[in-house]
Symmetry: C2
Subunit: 349 residues, 2 copies
Amino acid sequence: MFTAKVKALLGTELPIIQAPMAGVQDANLAIAVSKAGGLGSIPCGMLGIEAIVSDIIKVKAATTEPYNLNFFCHQMPDYNQAQHDVWQNTLAKYFIELGISCENGPNSANRMPFNHDIADAIEAFKPEFISFHFGLPEQKLFDRIKSWGTKVVSSATTLEEALWLEAKGVDAIIAQGIEAGGHRGMFLTDDITTQVGSMALISQIVKKVDIPIIAAGGIADAQGVKASLLMGAGAVQIGTAYLLCDEANTSALHRLALKSEKASHTALTNLFSGKPARGIVNRIMNELGCMSALAPSFPHAAIEITQLRQYAEKQGLDGFSPLWSGQNTSGCLDISAKEMTKLLVSQLE
Amino acid sequence: MFTAKVKALLGTELPIIQAPMAGVQDANLAIAVSKAGGLGSIPCGMLGIEAIVSDIIKVKAATTEPYNLNFFCHQMPDYNQAQHDVWQNTLAKYFIELGISCENGPNSANRMPFNHDIADAIEAFKPEFISFHFGLPEQKLFDRIKSWGTKVVSSATTLEEALWLEAKGVDAIIAQGIEAGGHRGMFLTDDITTQVGSMALISQIVKKVDIPIIAAGGIADAQGVKASLLMGAGAVQIGTAYLLCDEANTSALHRLALKSEKASHTALTNLFSGKPARGIVNRIMNELGCMSALAPSFPHAAIEITQLRQYAEKQGLDGFSPLWSGQNTSGCLDISAKEMTKLLVSQLE
C-alpha cells in the first residue's frame, strides 16, 4: 500500500527510520536496521570527522541499502567561565561526595554543529539522506548538501517549526512529539511549554504542510506505526524501542533503568547538555529539578556532569547519567534490530 | 466492526464521548451529541444540586439516549487566608490597572466534590454513566453509585493511575494524554513532568489493564479517532473539537482565541483554579508564568482571578480568562454538534 511512497521518501522498503541516538549506538545498529529494510541512522553529532568517515565506510562495506547521517546544527556559544563557576558551585557537593575534583575548561570536540569541514569529508560519499536536529545549517551549507542530490530532513516540534522548515526547502519533516526521548529538536523557541504531543502534532502538521511527515515520539510498536501512518505520516522514526536491541551500545545501567519501573517517569531536562532532552528521572534530576536556569549553554553543560557520570557509573550508580528514553518503553525488547524492525511493520498490509 | 463493544461500553452506537467542559457548555451540547449517537456529557463540577437535577430532566425530556454525568472528586481544602493574602498581593497590580477592588473570602459554591447530597438528588434517575475527574469518590459513595447499575469511569494521566483505577473497580479508564484541554485528571501526583502524551499513554495502558480504555487528548478528527481505536482504545473522548459548535456556550472571546494563531500555544496552568489545566497562553500566563507556586489550592485560586476575568471580559479583554483548549484545535469547526459527531466517525467502517 505504501511502498512506492516510502521508496520515494526514504529510499527504503519499510516506512521506518531508526532514530539517531548519540551515545548509545554506532554503525552496527544502523547497518542492522538498513539491512532489515528500514533506514538506519548514524548519529554524527558527537563524532569527530574521522569517526564519521569511518562509520560511513563501515556501513557501505556492510550493505548497499540507504542510511541516514544525523547532524546537529545548533549555534555554538562561546564557553562562558562565569556560567561554569555557578554550575560547578551547584555540583560541588556531588564532586565532594564522590571524592573527585572537577576538571575545568571547554571541551571543543563535544557536539560540534555541522560545518564545511564535515561537508568536505562526506561529499565524496554523496550521502542519500541527512537529518538535522535543532533547525538547519546556514543556507550555503544547506544548498551544498542539496547539490549532492541528498534528501534533507529536520525535526519540527511545533507547527511553526514545520512551516519554517518547509519554507526552507527540506524534503520531509520529522514531527517530533513531546513523547520522544533524547534532545528536543526545538529551534524557534526555548520555551518547553510550546512542545506538543504526537497525536496533536502529526494532525496539525499534516493539515498545513505539503511535504511528507515522519512521525516521531511515543511510537513503540506495530499499532503505533500503523496509527501514525493512518493519521497521515509517510513514515515513522523510532528510537526508544531499539534501545535494548543487541546491536545498540546502551550501557548495562541504562538497560536496567529502561527495564525498571523507573522508566515510567521520564522528563525533559537540560542538566546533561544545556538543552532540553527527555530521559528517565534519576537522582540529579530529582535533586536539582529537571530544568535548571543554572545549567550552562548547550553543549557546554555536559562538561562537568560527564565527569560525575563517568566516575559514578564505575561504581554502578546511574544518578548522574543521561538515561535517555521516550515516554513509551512498552515496546523495548532484548532482540535483534532486525527482529524489532520486522515487528514494527507487522501490522502493515 | 466495533458496534457491540461500544454498546456494551458506552451504551451508544458511536465510540465518541463528548468531553464534559465545565463553563463552556450545558445540557444542550450533551443532548445534541447523544441524539447524534455519541455520549453527551453534562459537566456537573461547577453546578449546584438544583442545576444538576434540572439538566438531567432537560436531557431526559429531549432524548432517551444515554448521557454522561461528570463530577469532580478532589479533596476540598480549607480556605486559607494566608495563601490568599499572598495571591492578592501578586494580583494587586491587575486590580489597580482595571480599577476594581478585590472581594475577599471563600466561595463555597464553586467546584464542590461529589458527595452524598448529590447522590441523593440523582439516585432517582439511575444515571447510566458517570465519569469522575481527579480520581474517585470514597469507597462508600463509589459502591452506592455502582449499586444503581451505573457505569463508572475516571481519568488516568499515567499508567500508575490507570492501574489504581482498575484495582478500584471502574468500568473503563479515560486515558487523558497531555494534549487534552482543561483540567488534568491527575490525582496520584502533582508533578506535571509525569504527564504523558496520548500516543505513549494509550499504548502503555492498553498493554497493562484488562478493562476498556477511552482515549482522550489531541484527537480532533476522524483520523485521530480511527488511529486511537487502532491502538486499542474502545472509544474516544473529545472536547476541543466541540468548542466552536453551535450548541456550546463558548464565549465570543474564547471562540476568537480558538480561531486565532494564539491557539497554537497552549500550556498547563494552575493560575485559574489552583490545579494544572491546559488553556491558550494569554496575558496573565505570560506575565506570572503558567505554573505558579503562589496560586492558592484548588479550587480557591479561582476566587480572585474570576473577578479580574469578569471585569476584563466586559472590556473585550481575554487576558485573565481561562481559554481552555487542547493542543489540537485543527478540528474545530463552526458546525452543529451533530455534524461534528458524524464527521468524527466518518473514517470508521
